[in-house]
């Protein structure tokens, strides 16, 4: 205790900078966490959170006693892994490549344009994918017919959708992520490139051996941040694009959409809290494990 106080005093200027952040964190992020208690209670509006009866693990039963929970958990995980990996790859391509462009107007234009999909809501995206892939007058089938090929029944074929969904995520998020990377690149010292160029390194080598490694802190933190949410499916996207089309559920149904359908009729908040708690706890375990792994490999890149 005394050590702690001594340390605080000695570095008071440093620690005092964190005070506003801590205040906001505690007030707006920690206090509301109390709501998660509901996962273990039988919620009655008039009694409040604290007054409602304890329900033990009852609220988890509907989810875990079926057979589907393994399947939807798996879907959630593998889809999120695909998204994290490919979004990062494309974001890196965009950022690193853009960095090499000398033509200012081209660079600025592309930078702005790739950011645009971020603003388009998933509902609109769902509508656009429908225009592309539907059976009646879909653009893709139209194109296939023009090329003399057989039209394809997209919306009745489960296995293509993880691919389509990943492509959509890349399209929507890579631009946004690339901004973070571009900002990081902008902060890199030119000295590294100078010396490399003097030694005869090509553009490609510079990208690969200087820029890319120097982005390691950003890459790792972004991935780690994604890992913490890895048990949360992207409800907006999947519901917006797949909707209630049961045929595609085997490959695209995630925990969030599954429990939405289960509880739609009942509107039971304790039960949906239970699912969120499950997703949170599993996410926590995932990120702590991942962080421990990173620690072993490269101490400086860890999250905590």
């Amino acid at each position: 205790m005394k050590r702690l106080l001594q340390d605080l005093v000695r570095n008071r200027y440093l620690y005092s900078m964190a005070i506003p952040g801590i205040v906001f964190l505690v007030v707006f992020s920690y206090i509301p966490l109390a709501g998660h208690l509901l996962a273990f209670k039988n919620f009655q509006i008039s009694r409040g959170i604290w007054g409602s009866d304890w329900a033990g693990l009852d609220n988890f039963r509907f989810f875990f006693s079926g057979k589907d929970w393994i399947h939807v958990t798996f879907n959630t995980l593998y889809l999120n892994v695909l998204f994290i990996i490919f979004e990062m790859i494309f974001a890196l391509f965009i950022a690193i490549f853009l960095n090499e462009i000398r033509l200012k107007w081209f660079k600025r234009t592309v930078q702005s344009v790739v950011f645009l999909p971020y603003f388009i809501s998933w509902v609109v995206v769902g509508y656009m994918t429908f225009i592309l892939f539907n059976n009646t007058d879909g653009l893709i089938n139209h194109l296939l017919k023009q090329l003399g090929l057989e039209p394809f029944n997209w919306y009745q074929t489960p296995w293509v959708w993880p691919i389509i969904l990943t492509l959509t995520r890349i399209w929507k998020s890579a631009g946004y992520l690339s901004i973070i990377l571009l900002a990081a690149i902008a902060g890199l010292s030119v000295d590294y490139y100078e010396s490399a160029r003097l030694d005869g390194a090509t553009r490609l080598q510079q990208m690969k051996y200087i820029t890319l490694p120097l982005l390691k802190p950003q890459i790792i933190i972004l991935i780690l941040l994604g890992v913490g949410r890895i048990f949360y499916g992207d409800f907006g996207m999947i519901y917006g694009i797949i909707g209630d089309n049961g045929i595609l559920f085997p490959t695209t149904d995630v925990i969030d959409t599954y429990s939405y359908r289960a509880l739609r009729q009942l509107g039971d908040f304790s039960m949906s809290s239970a699912i969120v708690l499950y997703q949170s706890v599993m996410g926590l375990i995932a990120v702590v494990s991942f962080n421990a792994l990173i620690r072993k490999v490269d101490k400086d890149s860890r999250l905590f």
Binding site: N11, S16, M17, A18, P20, G21, I22, F28, S29, Y30, I31, P32, L33, A34, G35, H36, L38, E100, I101, T109, S112, V113, V114, F115, L116, P117, F119, I120, S121, V124, M128, I131, W171, A183, A184, A186, G187, S189, V190, D191, A196, D199, T202, R203, L204, Q205, Y209, I210, P213, L214, P217, L222, G228, R229, V276, S280, L284, D300, L303, F304
Partner: protein
Amino acid sequence: MNHPIVPVAPERKWRGGGLSERAVMPLIGLFLILFALACLFPFWLMVVNSFAGTRSLALNGYAIWPSELTLKSYRFLLQGKQMFTSYGVTATVTIAGTVAGLVVTALFAYVLAHPKNRYGGLLSFMTYVPMIFGSGLVGFYLLVVRWLHLKDTLWALVLPYIMNPFYAFIFVSFYRSLPHELNESATVDGANEWVIFFKIIRPISTPVIATIGLFYALQYWNDWWLSLLFVDNSDLYPLQLLLRQLMSQMQLTSLNHGNVLTLPPAEGVKLATVCLTIGPIIFVYPLVQKYFVKGLTLGSVKG
């Protein structure tokens, strides 16, 4: 601020890489152009069809160029004083929130990333946990309305988002890539952390400040959740909430057995709504871009 990350072994000899120098640039250019087109095309469809007339939307859906153009959708949305008030509310909230958010988060993240901080790991962990668990809605509402008495105030629209863990960690990753020598030389000169931060760190953090500033601005600009929960007074309606209201109003009018021919096309109004929201942001972004300036030199540290 850790030791500088040395990317390559110092004695590495640069041998000619696989692809010739000449081929690289065109390929890069091609990739970027294709990706940009893929992003631009749907956006173009949205913008141009927000000006489309009913007939065009019905017959051609999202056409590349509508057969019929009209300003009806925009006129419908931009009528009345309410729109100005709402733009004002949103602008105020965005500016206030962005500035406050940047200050709080940049400082906080600096502490997280600082090597002198012994509790950095713990603090980082505590910062990250709420991101995984999400904010419990109940406690949140109670807090803002009952305990802080912020219902129907602008504070309720600004305060909850000020400290954002995701953005804090982006700051952290940036600070970690800065060489520690910067700090050390200043400390030797007798400066405390506040001085170091504002005189040394901040000026070279421009790219990341610009980025996170943009993100905060977006978050506040697009938000309708906070106002839905906490604002009943229509004078404090931000843009998004107002637009939602206008959409329902339009559906309502079309149900009356009146003359629907004067109504703007529903699909067009939806798109115009999106455009009105995105509009200002698109104009702001290029201005922000000029802060992504390259070039931190270590010259200031040597000697």
